[in-house]
């Protein structure tokens, strides 16, 4: 497969129902994202990787309205740039994740709204495929 995650251990892949991955501190139970070997809360070093799931609620948000400078990777120019949403999504596992949001319409984004994880093709990799990254989209309640 030529599509690959942009970084290891951010989310389960390949997977039919991908989940974000985080770290659980064996000493104090603190949850981190991305998983890190030492705990930013208690400085313990025995953490394990856990699944954080694929659902959360929007804690805060903004919209990126101008083309970022590097290190942002994109084929877009200032002329073709499309704004993207950015937010923190609160996960039931006990951590807030900063993420791109597929919605960039400020009228459609509200603090507290349910969100779902999506894995998106982000940029081209050097093997002819795409780098895959995580993002959140508004969860349409049926």
């Amino acid at each position: 497969m030529s599509d690959k995650p942009i970084h290891a251990n951010l989310f389960t892949w390949p997977a039919d129902n991908p989940s974000l991955l985080g770290g659980l501190c064996g000493h104090c139970g603190e949850v981190s994202f991305p998983a890190q070997s030492s705990c930013r809360h208690c400085s313990g070093t025995g953490s394990s990787v856990i699944e954080l799931g694929d659902r959360g609620t929007l804690w805060t948000w903004t919209v990126q309205n101008f083309l970022p400078k590097p290190p942002y990777v994109t084929d877009q120019t200032t002329a073709t740039f499309e704004p993207y949403g950015v937010g923190y999504v609160e996960m039931p596992a006990g951590v807030r994740i900063e993420s791109r949001l597929l919605t960039s319409d400020p009228e459609k984004l509200h603090i507290g709204m349910p969100m779902r994880l999506v894995i998106e093709r982000f940029s081209r990799n050097d093997q002819g495929g795409h780098n895959l990254s995580f993002a959140f989209d508004c969860l349409e309640v049926s």
Partner: protein, 380 residues
């Protein structure tokens, strides 16, 4: 031993294409020396910093190789506050009779582009477009407005005040007053923050001369006393820039902690302060910092701004020189500009922007990535 500021110097903020950052620093240093009536060769130690203008200790190449002890300090946007704190402790300890505090900078136009590796973050974070301070400020004030019922009008009022104050400050960068309509019509950068609600990286320099309070009258008839300086870093649970995730349990911000430490040192509280300079990287920051520094309750800012309390003629003037919004943010100099302005106001040298009513006490607060706050309390 108490410490006094006996000399102040400022090179105008904005753009000076003909001068390097270091040369602007030298201009500010010469102005501060002249203000204190002291020669460069008499300065015993120096502390200072610059992000993009070179090493501050290279100032000796401009001023003279006098052999003084000089320490270069870099602490992000709080560099000025950290330099002042270091100089304050050096003089207070009795080790040095006087000290230079210096901050200068010269940034390229446009937003800063930080590298994830410098912040202990993997490259993917920058590649997918999350390494932008502007997003953080938008998200922080978005949540704050939601929690404390603050409206967009409050954001506009802060910017309108800043550009009005800038228009009557001869050393400000942005010297054209803007109406609320101008501000609302400016480009949306990161919801809910528009172009004229953000400060921009710029150039400029500030220098201060410190000495022990007992010797202050040798230098000046108008010493300003440093009653407190406190610099604090973030605790676990504080919402800070460049955080791929944050814990659900929230902690007091470094501003709250530095502010409380400063009040304790000075032995006075927020009700005893007459004027303040608060970090206003964007409009929302000034609103949050009004409450975090203890001057009003969270949520009260809406009414305060509506009633004009923080204007020059109001009951508690904030950012009388136009703040970061009208002066831009040369990182190394920005926190010292705040202290410079309080000294100007307490000495009654503010000209068109002088606060009426003979203010006696002032307060400065600088805040920067990744969660550092520096607070000073000053009096005459």
């Amino acid at each position: 031993m108490d410490v006094a500021i006996v000399g102040i110097g400022l090179h105008p903020f904005g753009r000076t294409p003909s001068m390097s950052g270091l040369q602007q620093g030298a201009a500010a240093t010469r102005a501060a020396l002249a203000d204190a009536g002291v020669d460069w060769s008499d300065i015993e130690c120096g502390y200072g910093g610059s992000q993009d203008g070179g090493n501050a200790d290279a100032i000796v190449n401009e001023m003279g190789l006098s052999g003084l002890q000089f320490t270069h300090i870099f602490n992000g946007c709080a560099t000025g506050g950290s330099s002042l704190h270091a100089a304050y402790t050096a003089v207070k300890s009795g080790e040095y009779r006087n000290a230079l505090v210096l901050g200068f900078d010269k940034h390229a136009p446009g937003a800063f582009n930080a590298s994830p590796a410098d912040w202990g973050i993997d490259d993917w974070y920058g590649e997918i477009g999350l390494m932008l301070t502007t997003q953080y400020f938008g998200m922080k004030i978005q949540r704050y407005m939601h929690d404390h019922n603050i409206s967009e009008k409050a954001l506009v009022a802060v910017a309108e005040k800043a550009f009005h104050n800038g228009s009557i400050n001869p050393t400000a960068w942005r010297r054209q007053a803007l109406s609320s309509e101008d501000i609302m019509a400016s480009t949306m950068i990161s919801h809910p923050l528009r172009k004229y609600m953000f400060c921009s990286p710029a150039e400029g320099a500030v220098a201060l001369i410190l000495c022990s309070a007992a010797e202050a009258k040798r230098y000046t008839t108008q010493p300003i006393f440093l009653n407190a300086t406190a610099v604090r870093t973030r605790h676990y649970g504080s919402f800070e820039v460049f955080s791929p995730s944050q814990p659900i349990k929230q902690a007091d911000s470094p501003t709250v902690i530095a502010s409380q430490a400063a009040y304790q040192q000075a032995g006075i509280g927020p009700a005893d302060i007459d004027i303040a300079q608060l970090q206003d990287t964007e409009s929302g920051a000034e609103i949050i910092h009004m409450a975090e520094n203890g001057f009003c309750e969270h949520g009260e800012q809406e009414q305060w701004l509506r009633d004009g309390h923080t204007q020059i003629g109001g009951k508690f003037p904030v950012n009388t020189d136009g703040g970061c919004l009208a002066n831009g943010e040369p990182v190394g100099a920005s926190g010292l500009r705040q202290v410079h302005e309080i000294c100007v106001q307490l000495r009654q040298q503010g000209g068109a922007r002088q606060v009426p009513g003979n203010p006696k006490t002032g307060y400065t607060h600088v805040y920067g990535a990744p969660g550092i706050s520096g607070v000073t309390i000053l009096s005459r």
